[in-house]
Symmetry: none
Amino acid sequence: MTFQVYDTTLRDGAQREGLSYSVVDKLAVARLLDDLGVGFIEGGWPGAVPKDTEFFQRARTELDLKHATLVAFGATRKAGVAVETDPQVRGLLDAETPAVALVAKADLRHVERALRTTAAENLAMIQDTVRHLVRQGRRVFVDGEHFFDGYRHDPAYTASVLEAALAAGAERFVLCDTNGGMLPSQVTAAITDVTARTGVAPELLGMHAQNDTACAVANTIAAVEAGVRHFQGTANGYGERPGNADLFAIVANLQLKLGLPVLPEGCLEQLVRVSHAIAEIANIAPDTHQAYVGAAAFAHKAGLHASAIKVDPLLYNHVDPSVVGNDMRILVTEMAGRASVELKSRELGLDLSGHPEALTTVTNRVKELEADGWSFEAADASFELLVRSELPDRAAPRPFALESYRVLVEHREDGAVVSEATVKIRVRGERVIATAEGNGPVNALDEALRVALVRHYPELRDFELADYKVRILEGSHGTGAVTRVLVETAGVGRDWTTVGVHPNVVEASWRALVDALTYGLSRARV
Amino acid sequence: MTFQVYDTTLRDGAQREGLSYSVVDKLAVARLLDDLGVGFIEGGWPGAVPKDTEFFQRARTELDLKHATLVAFGATRKAGVAVETDPQVRGLLDAETPAVALVAKADLRHVERALRTTAAENLAMIQDTVRHLVRQGRRVFVDGEHFFDGYRHDPAYTASVLEAALAAGAERFVLCDTNGGMLPSQVTAAITDVTARTGVAPELLGMHAQNDTACAVANTIAAVEAGVRHFQGTANGYGERPGNADLFAIVANLQLKLGLPVLPEGCLEQLVRVSHAIAEIANIAPDTHQAYVGAAAFAHKAGLHASAIKVDPLLYNHVDPSVVGNDMRILVTEMAGRASVELKSRELGLDLSGHPEALTTVTNRVKELEADGWSFEAADASFELLVRSELPDRAAPRPFALESYRVLVEHREDGAVVSEATVKIRVRGERVIATAEGNGPVNALDEALRVALVRHYPELRDFELADYKVRILEGSHGTGAVTRVLVETAGVGRDWTTVGVHPNVVEASWRALVDALTYGLSRARV
């Protein structure tokens, strides 16, 4: 039976403290997960969360998934209500996804104390809802919430929940370590016991681990070793409390350590790119020490054995870093860079294999800029401009030259807040001064620049500032603070992201805006 | 046989990229680890690293350890050299510690390619050095470097290394997963196999795991379950690449999940304090999502089940947070209801149970504000101000009234970028106008406000803008964009976070700044 790699970054992972995705973010994360080749993407709770309802609506036209099946998450019908009339269940069907995941209480104490209903009614709620959804043509997964704690407390009842869900037509029953307190040996024992008790094959079960014992990845591996073929996790382990199981470490371990091909051919090498891009979208600094994908995951303090490492790198790395898209780094003699710059450029349609000097220049420039806090992981357009600037026939023309700009924000006595920007630029030999207002300093600057440019570049009218993210970089208290801005621009049919770095947030934004317009105009003219 | 809890924060943990302890730091870390009750503290490599030589010298008079035995780390004698004349071995004895740990190559490939000596000479180096140190009255631990990879490659040779070390008088032979590539089931299989092959009892073995598969804690637990009674780890899992096994998660799991009393009575509740204090010394931001000890380790997005959590917290926590010195936290989110507002308020020391109208008002206000894009889950200080504003005797006084402010950012013709802010406010009946520059618009505004206030509130000098995060909220393309700003302020002994929301990023920042100062001043005056 094939493996089901089930991602819940957009639903359970969004429970992480401080994390909040926009609908556009969710669509972008889904595309990245699909690039990685996951089998299922749980997108949210339609009907209950308005943002998720919109996500599923837009997904129908805006998501063209190559690998993944979209899943709507929700609850079983309410106690004492007919499933056909339950509006929450209706919301799940209205999402029009091929599959639905239902959360079901698998611990009798939660049934009685949180749900405040009876053991029997809980089983009826599960069966009614599964049958109803299956009749409507949905594939149904049932998440057995608090399965492991419940099974320890009252194995007979928890087993009956599992049996009820599968008997009603659920495709898988997922064993959830909701409170995250399990250890691998305990997971193995529980799965062995419940499959013996019920006669249910482990292939019909799934695993959902949380990281409260720092064993979520290991618990998931233990379940797979016990025969489970469906596992849930999130990008970078994002999730409530210490987080969910890190789906990226799980798939890398299964493929590289146990030889189980859980992702489509050629996808695993996307791991670093997808991990870092999702971190940028979530506006969480990538964990440099994260297994497999962290910038330090294959970094060695060279010391005594530098030459041995160079000759025999695999004696010092548990896997070849390139198989997950990472690089080995020697902290004294930097060896990384060229390969990934070349790979990334090729991905953007720019072949550097015949331009070794350009490759060297770009690699060095990227290293310098990244040392200053730039990050190109989520800013393909800025990276592409950088590469093209080293290829004479491909360089993007600079649409204008800046003389100066000025931005003013006032909070007036009457409470009104106004922003105004003036730019002075040269466009095709002409000096242009333009002033515009905006809803904030960056918007005003963007507007003023457009006013100044639009006569020469009417295609600018099709570009829209779609998203804007700011991060103060680590270790930068007080006046030394460095700000990184990501600007996402929506054009005709596609979006692109650019980056700017500067101690001043307005200047950092300006740099990202200029890249955004330069890139958009060079594309519009192709 | 009792457990040996062996900490290597100060030696192997110091290999983490970017980490550097002073001697004073090392002494402070050792005291904290001793408070936690670890059995062994590996302090460094005397003779080889000058800072470590000094650490061991000062430790003799400045460290008064209650629980721990100090260990000096080093290598076996050089190939072809008599152990008595090897200066590196001399350095280990000069450290005058009760115990010494020796690193020994346990993988024949490393013996031949990195050490460039023979299989037999490697065994002789280990035996000579162990015997020499034992004769000098030292307890000796031998770290079998690359044990697991070596055992897979050539089990007979790797087993002979283990046997040689123990035969020469080593107290324990430590199985090191130096490259960190193991999974728990593989650890179990290797220990079962090597103990059967050699007849060595697992009690004579130790475990040292690295986190490259995100399984270091689980690998250590697996070794203990296989009978190993000595395990190594580091504070917070600091170490090279993805790090070492997190000693804190290991001891918490062993005590709380397997009922093994590995720390002295009463020590486990020091876990959070020791973890955070070591993070401060290491100058690494504590990981809020770390298992057991992170600030978010027991944080719940309350939502639907807040009332159930209130009645039965242990149904929602895998352990009682207080046993490791942590607290449960309820996050106020989009789905905030009365129960979660009440619970959160109580956590902040504000009892709303006797104020039903205030509770209603706060709950409604939170819902309104969250619908407008505010988020209190990461902004406890703004939430506290909101609650206190509804409790007449607890309301924080407003330190000033705003008349107007103005912020200017200029990119001048010479390329210089300057920010300047002017605020006009009323403080205690006086009208004050102040202007300041900053490295960006928000910093300038912050500075101008401080200049205006500092004569009336000198305690402001102790507050520092520690972090600043900006998010453009969803569904907010173009002019309707709403910006959310989080400001973290560092004060004497603690930090607090406030939130501001507005279409204009400067005004949103202003609101968060005003909350930050209001909160800080009301606390400073308590």
